[in-house]
Amino acid sequence: MRTLLSAIAIGVQVTMILTLVGVSEGMLGDVAQRSRGTGADVVIQPPNSTIIGFSGNMPEKIVSVVREQPHVAMATGVLVQPIGTVNTITGIHLDEFNAMSGGFTYLRGGPFKMPDEIIVDEVFARSRHIGVGSSINEGGQWRVAGVVVPGKLSRTFVDIQSLQERYSNTGFITAIYVKVDNPANIPAVIEELEQKLPTYKIHSMEELISLTSADNIPLLKQFTRVVIGLGVVIGFLVVFLSMYTAVLERTREIGILKALGASPGYILGILLRETVLLSITGSIAGILMTYGTRALMQVFVPTMTTSIVYAWWPYAALIALVGSLIGAIYPGLKAARQDAIEALAYD
């Protein structure tokens, strides 16, 4: 029972790490996929914007300047308006956005026609339990006009003019999405735009997506490190207590082994092998539990896309192993130094 509980505790530690990594990779992957869904080749952001965060704004008239550049097939401005703490609502020119992205696929309802109407994607609709005709409060009241297949830029779309007016942002946008006539011309277009808009952040879509990784989000990177550190501490404590108890329980057995001529290294080796086995079992349990947490998150928080990050399995197992081995050292040494006569007399 003790061994089973220890393996589960190590499993929880592994699940914790893999779920965190899975959520960050999943959400960033989702952002990347939705960025691709715009159909744009180049993204222009204002000078004060963060690459991933879409902050700051710029005059909408720049879109006209961009459209005039050679090889630019189309360009459209969007306004990403923060609402509440972390949510955003995206204002688009529906016709332009449809032309660039290939258009929304409506599961229910249709495009917004009135200023207070909103289009939401299926994931958002499911997480809020809403449908066409529902009224939602996203930085103000909106009526759902249509539910679309996810994968295009955002989860909520409203008319850009309506959003600009509602937030006193008339004439301002957050980013410009640019479609180039031929992918081979993307570098030339970027070079041209950089000359015209020297302080602006101008990236190809592929470059922007490559920057969308956990390593480029400092807080997430630090948070991951903290969770890994906690994982090592949990592994250490679990195995320390488990092995310490095991050594106490097996005092007599250790005495028997010593009487048979077992060296301290032999006894330490037995405990370390047991620890490795415990850690491997716990890691396998943890990996399996990660599928469980992902299934639960899909039900309860569908907007948090969680991936199974296979590449992290060995890292999570290694973290569990390191914590466990550190935890086994003291009990192991205690066992190895056990006095044989006292141990044999132990009942």
Binding site: R252, G255, I256, L257, A259, G261, A262, I341, L344
Partner: protein, 220 residues
């Protein structure tokens, strides 16, 4: 085989010195079967612990198979237990999670030897009458069977001496006689040197010679 001269052992219990052995002299020839008798606290077990390398002597000379135990390091005494001495205990001391076969195999593993099909050891298994019980764990074995497995484990590495501490103390008469018969057989057939602690004069009668201890000394 065994030569003990002026052996003393003093334990420090708090601020009190307990003189467990007060100058023991003993010689045991190769192939001899010797019983050590005496009341509780006479120093029998301490003598065995020193001969078995479980604890170092305080003073005196102890030579086993030509090796002097005095001044041996922990590692050297561990090696002595691995190669030269086999233990049989009153409480059998089998590892409860292992089968009889595994209990014997672990003794070979500790000695750095692989399990083998040594014909002589196979013969010993027959002699001990435990061949059919090798895949059972100790809890499924009777006391007599457990002690036979413990004997097999003690001799699997061919130790120079076999130290048996009250080997029949937990057994009924029938099993006691069987175990003592086995020890005598091992001595007769293989020339195994055996030292046995016992309270039981009938058990002592199985040995070639008997010495008595009292208050940390051999008195007869």
């Amino acid at each position: 085989m065994i030569d003990v001269r002026d052996l003393t052992k003093t334990y420090h219990v708090g601020e009190v010195d307990v003189h467990a052995l007060r100058g023991v002299n003993l010689s045991v020839a190769r192939g001899e079967f010797l019983s050590v008798v005496g009341p509780s606290g006479s120093g029998k077990s301490t003598l065995f612990h020193i001969l078995g390398g479980l604890t170092p002597p305080t003073s005196g000379s102890v030579r086993i198979d030509g090796r002097d135990l005095f001044g041996m390091t922990d590692a050297e005494r561990t090696n002595l237990r691995k190669t030269t001495v086999g233990f049989i205990f009153q409480k059998y001391n089998l590892l409860p999670t292992l089968t009889a076969e595994e209990n014997i195999a672990i003794a070979r593993d500790i000695a750095g030897k692989k399990p083998d099909n040594d014909p002589q050891f196979e013969e010993i298994l027959d002699l001990l009458g435990i061949r059919a019980r090798m895949h059972h764990k100790p809890r499924a074995l009777s006391g007599g069977e457990q002690q036979r497995v413990a004997i097999a484990r003690a001799i699997v590495n061919r130790p120079a001496i076999l130290l048996a501490d009250e080997p029949t103390g937990n057994l009924d008469t029938e099993n006691s006689n069987a175990v003592l018969g086995i020890l005598r057989d091992l001595n007769d057939r293989l020339g195994q040197t055996i030292l046995m602690i016992t309270h039981n004069p009938e058990a002592a009668a199985y040995s070639h010679r008997m010495v008595a201890m009292r208050d940390g000394r051999i008195v007869s």
